[in-house]
Amino acid sequence: MPVLARRVRLLRALGAARPLLTAALCAVFLLNALIPAASAVTTAILVSRISGHAHSGLLGSAVLPLLLFGAVMVAGHAAEAASTPLDVLARARIDGAHRAELARLASADPTIDRLERPRVQQLIRIARADPQNWTEHTPGEGALGQLHWTAGLIGAAASCAVLARYAWWLVPLLLIPAALNRYFGNRIGGRFSDAWRAGIPYGMHGTAWEEALTSTAEGKDIRLFGIEEWSVAKIQRHIREMLEPVWELGSRGRRANLRRFLLIAGPLVLAYAAVADGTVHGHATVAVETAVLASGWSLYQAFGSSEDMHRMTAALESLDAFDQVAAVLRSAPDHPADDPADDPADDPADKPADNSAGTPPGPDSRTHAPASSPDAVPLVRFEDVCFAYPGTTRQVTDHLDLEIRPHELLAVVGLNGAGKSTMIKLLAGLYTPTAGRITADGVDIRELGPPAWRDRMSVVFQDFVRYHLTVAQNVALGHGSVPLDRAALSAAADDAGLGDVLDRLPDGWETPLSRTRTGGADLSGGQWQQVVLARALYAVRTGARLLVLDEPTAHLDVRTEFEVFNRLAARRGETSVVLISHRLSTVRQADRIVLLENGRIAESGSHDELIAAGGAYAEMFAIQAERFQHGYDDRADFDDEYDGAEYHDLTGEAAAHG
């Protein structure tokens, strides 16, 4: 029975709450559910004592029932009070474990192509257990909703037992409409939730414009072009698009209210009238009558609220999404290989890699091949590397051959879309080549295993991460797999010229870099750039032997760029440096320059050699130099952006809108 399987799936999530807490919760929920029946019974006992006794000595004989009544009352309050903290604690445990597992899963996948898929991102958004609106619920809420709902059924059974004391037919008379009432209630709740969710895209449009009104960037244009009122009207339109269907549903809800009234009033009137009449005619005692009157309506509350059901449904969505994410991230990559026979680039976890050593290492293998000592500056080689994004045929790198020699300062230039960023991601093992291999000192980097290989390199990406953590953590996370090394930290700060920035921060190294943190500070773009440089140099100080910089100075002015370049050049004794840049004025200082064109190396050599060769590089340089003389730009940036992330947006979003 699939419905039952779903219920079990929810209850399984309770495992993370641990047995003791789960037991306590069960007890509390059960106690809460049994209170209506229990107080009906204790009231009845009291009534029977009063109506059955002579007036004298009544109080004495009523002491015990009174105390019993009081005990039930106190127990009810205790259960009610205890349920909130226990509930939150259990949710915190369940959802905390769920989120930690999801974060671990997402960050443990050695390559990023699966994580980049719009579908995976969408699933993660659903699975992440961080509700953004009232229609979303966490696994913890769902599991506890399930528990609460189950306890409610037991409470209902207890109430039914009380009713049956008068007559068995009272049970179906009230139980069936109560269940129906809940069923209709859940259906209406579901419709509201669906209508509201359907409006979310409109709401997002409205929110984006609200943010625009108060941001300095959009806000400036809005004021300059005089579209203030137009924007407000637009937001109004989006809000109406979002909420009007829900309001519509609400105004149609009057009929549902009538149905609800009839479902409750009809059976209850019948039952109460029958019991009252029956008791007068001696079919039952006043005590039983009292108990029935008190517990009859509690049956209508026993099936929980539509909120319980809604929580369970929404939580299952989250759990299902989690299962799907896990299935995708744990699966083998599905690169469409042109010819699987000569494709050694499949996931090494899936089948033995095509390499000379012949060992089949897993993605987390830390196997060190003897040929490549981790402390040495490696000779890196791209051997006939091909790569195409999944589902496309365009070869972003096309039989690429390239050497990165030890201690070399290698510059990579090329137009946007030439495959520079993809090349870096292949080098870091973030994508797996569809054909060919990348070696370090002759050993395939996949054989080294991503963690071991990445331990030896550091990459400064253009969109580097700004952690809302302390400066020290921001720098040290440049090499997170080694324990924090204070000496390396201050050395890296010196290397990167971070001292000025540190001096200006209130707590120096311990200042959190986000205004949202207590005592935190916001850095300017240039200051961040220096933190990131220190991050890379910290990695070098702690063992990275290959430093890759993807346009690290694109947003810096000329003077700062020279300084950064010189600081990097100073570290060449410890590492090779690969620099991607558009500014040929910087690039020319590299030992060797390679020009990437259509996914291959078109030219390679020193600046002077390439100029002498008179090829594409010489032409680019001449154009830039001439443009400079004539007063134009100083960057070789011929084409629109068309790289990995961009590609995913284009296909994914276009498909969503098509």
Binding site: L46, L66, G70, E80, F225, L268, F461, H479, V558, H657
Partner: protein, 615 residues
Amino acid sequence: MADNAALIAATERTRYPLRRYAALWRELFGLAWRRMPREVVIYFAANVLVLAVVAGTALALRWTVDATIHGRAGSAVLGAVVAALAYAVNVVLLDMVLFPVPLIEQPGMLDLHPRTLSDLAAMETLDHLERSDVLDRVTIVRNSAWLIMAGFWASIGVVFAVAQLVVTLVLLGTVSPWLLFLLVFAAVPLWCDRRGSAAVSKAELDTAETFRLQRHLFELSTKPAAAKEIRVAGSGPEIVRLQNQAWQETMNGRVRALAVGAAWKFAGWLVFSIGFVGGLALVVERAAHGTGSVGDLVLAVTVAANLRNTLHGVVVRATGVAQVRRYIEPLFWMRDHLAEDRARRAGTRPAPQVLSDGITFDGVDYAYPGTGRLALDGVSVHLPAGSVVAVVGEYGSGKTTLVKLLAKFYRPDAGRVTVDGTDLGELETRAWRSRISAAFQDFGRFATTFAENVGLGDLAHLDDGERVAAAVREADADRVLRRLPQGYDTLLGRDIGGLELSEGQWQKVALARASMRSEPLLFVLDEPTASLDAPSEQEIFQRHMARAREVGARTGAITVIVSHRFSTVTGADRILVLDKGKLVESGPHDELMALGGRYADLYGIQAAAYSATAP
């Protein structure tokens, strides 16, 4: 909303007199009444009905039990029927009474919300949006219309909940006046509940920071943008650990507070329960002496069962009302701030039709609020009508500040800017801006279609396909357009599920937008080519120079081009060199080169990089 909560915790509170609240309450009631008078009436009627029904249920039950004991079948049945009906009515009405969603949403989102947004949109200058004290409150206010409206109805709910409390206690008083003493006992859980709620609210605020941190770290470990770096640096496990640690810390803090709250709550109810059982003993005692009935006992028990809900309703709603003050205070603050700002605006004069003399800066100082450092320091310069002016300088030299002053985005702290002799401050802002067009460095990326992104540069011609197409061509944005799956109707912006453009593509959209107005008197290009590819940059630059000279000759229009690359602006009529907010040199390229000063110096550095020999 959690982020908002953190913001609220961090925002300094201001107290306002009660009459401010009274006025706001009148305003909110007015909004609701005008939008949906029928629903307002129904809401109040339902509340009164619920009051009656709660009392009616208890009375009907007493009646039934007593009638049964006395063998009056008709009365007993009648009482039972009334009790059943009263209960059903209560269930059906309760949702509406507790949480009148339509009354919150419609006046909140259709009246209060746009009113607030219009207020925000009416801030003429940008300094508001750059001050964190203003921006924090703006963010709170922007998201608070719904909450404030909910708070308003909650405050009315409190009144009814208290009324219900009184009615139930009076019911008990009908059994015996002594039972009125239960009022005292009822005050204990009320007081304890409030203490507990306060502890919980405080913990929520206290843990908001770590909660936000764990969310940030979680997003980092699951988003592709950060995934690259995290993998290469091997920082994944550490980030997951920190995330989990922040989560635990948050939840421990909250659960501890909840446990304290629960203890208070239980203590309060324990006291009440003792009192209540004592009261019941009194009822039994009266029954023993023949002055009370079994029905009294049933009534008392029924009332007791309801009492917890009633009291809880009072506490929850009162807490809600107390919390909504934290949203209302920023609203008052904003309204005062804007009123002050409005009072300072003096501009009433219309914008000129043509420029004859030009724009003059006369000893202009400007410091960003809270920085204490002059972004512009005693700048005096004349921009002649019809000229192309370039502003160069390194980062932070004040280039962008200078052009923003031209668009009246800031008011000079000292000195003045004049347009053909008229102080910019005296010109009506919207009129002056309607004669400007600009593409700023941090241009807007609007969450709408490509066509609207461009067209809103001239609202009057938003739907004029020809004009939009011409602007697109002028900015060399056709190549961007050709790539869009739905052409002009393609939605742009990742946040709304649209297509995300690259920096360079967005920049072209911004340039196209700036090209919409046909004959502006002032045209500003603030670092227009930072992310553009070279051929289009060259084309745009030449096109603008040509157009600037042509239009300039007719209307005296001035074109201002800002750049940090000295090389891009050699063709300008006049180059202003800024350094740390001061105007250090100005004149045409050749003159400045001959001068051998700062301009020549920095130009030299960039030129050397392209000379035949390495630097």
